[in-house]
């Protein structure tokens, strides 16, 4: 199995996530795009782990840690979005300009 197509697809997923972060207006959609980026990183880690045939399997272990941290990040992120929604009655990030001068 050839390595390069998988790596290129992971790069494509990463850049699609960047596009989503820049373009989306709803804060929950931005969090979805961040998940896309994390998934691209996971694919790269697993691919390199298989490619290098590491005896310590550090690629897989890192992927498990990334998945755990991502779950924590989604919990906190949605809590913040919820709090913003409660205070401002909207989840559109272009209306959260409280810290702009």
């Amino acid at each position: 199995m050839i390595v390069q197509p998988v790596l290129v697809v992971a790069a494509a997923l990463f850049s699609l996530g960047i596009y989503g972060i820049l373009v989306r207006r709803n804060a929950v959609m931005v969090l979805l795009s961040i998940e896309l980026i994390l998934n691209a990183v996971n694919i790269n880690f697993i691919m390199f782990d298989t490619m290098l045939a590491d005896t310590m399997m550090q690629g897989q272990i890192f992927t498990i840690f990334i998945i755990t941290i991502a779950a924590a990040e989604v919990g906190i992120g949605l809590a913040i979005v919820l709090m913003l929604f409660r205070n401002r009655q909207t989840a559109n990030i272009n209306e959260f300009d409280l810290m702009k001068w």
Binding site: Q4, L22, M57, L78
Partner: protein, 172 residues
């Protein structure tokens, strides 16, 4: 072996198309469902690359829990269900496409130039070895990550609940 390669190319094609749908669809629920398909396809890819434990963790944690959280978030913040033209910031579209396109070109240039070769997929399970390494060599990060999860749990509750007791009524 040839059929195997064709299957992998179909999975990669599906990954790209569902990921494009996540960031371009104008329906919030469709975006979340497309993310489910993206994650499921990457779990299949992990299975093919003989990382079956990671694939199962991905299915359990992401498709089982995180997507449900996202759907809750969509429903609670009352994002308009159905088609919604307001979802995208049209001003940023050109700039976003330029930035993400250049990132993609740069990354794929570096990856294609530096990493070449074939992977021969080993048969058999890697879960037993993975558990052993995780609980010996990586035991400290393992414990640390459980502490992070506890902190996220407490932080999520503290942020999301409406705490009347903390608000000093005399000062407001």
């Amino acid at each position: 072996m040839e059929i195997f390669e064709i299957v992998i190319y179909f999975i990669l094609l599906g990954l790209i198309s569902t990921a494009i749908r996540v960031v371009t669809t104008s329906n919030v629920i469709h975006a979340a469902i497309s993310l489910v398909f993206t994650l499921a396809l990457s779990a299949i890819l992990f299975l093919i690359l003989s990382a079956e434990f990671v694939a199962l963790v991905l299915v359990l944690v992401y498709i089982g829990a995180v997507i449900v959280l996202f759907l809750f978030g969509i429903m609670i913040t009352r994002a308009p269900l159905g088609k919604n033209a307001e979802l995208d910031n049209d001003k940023n579209k050109k700039m976003g496409a330029a930035i993400s396109g250049s990132i993609f070109l740069l990354f794929s240039y570096i990856l294609i130039n530096n990493f070449d070769g074939e992977v021969n997929i080993a048969s058999g399970s890697s879960t037993e070895l993975l558990g052993e390494i995780l609980l010996t060599r990586f035991i400290f990060p393992f414990e640390l990550v459980s502490f992070v999860l506890l902190a996220a749990l407490i932080g999520g509750i503290t942020l999301a609940r409406k705490d009347e007791a903390l608000i000093d009524k005399d000062q407001v």
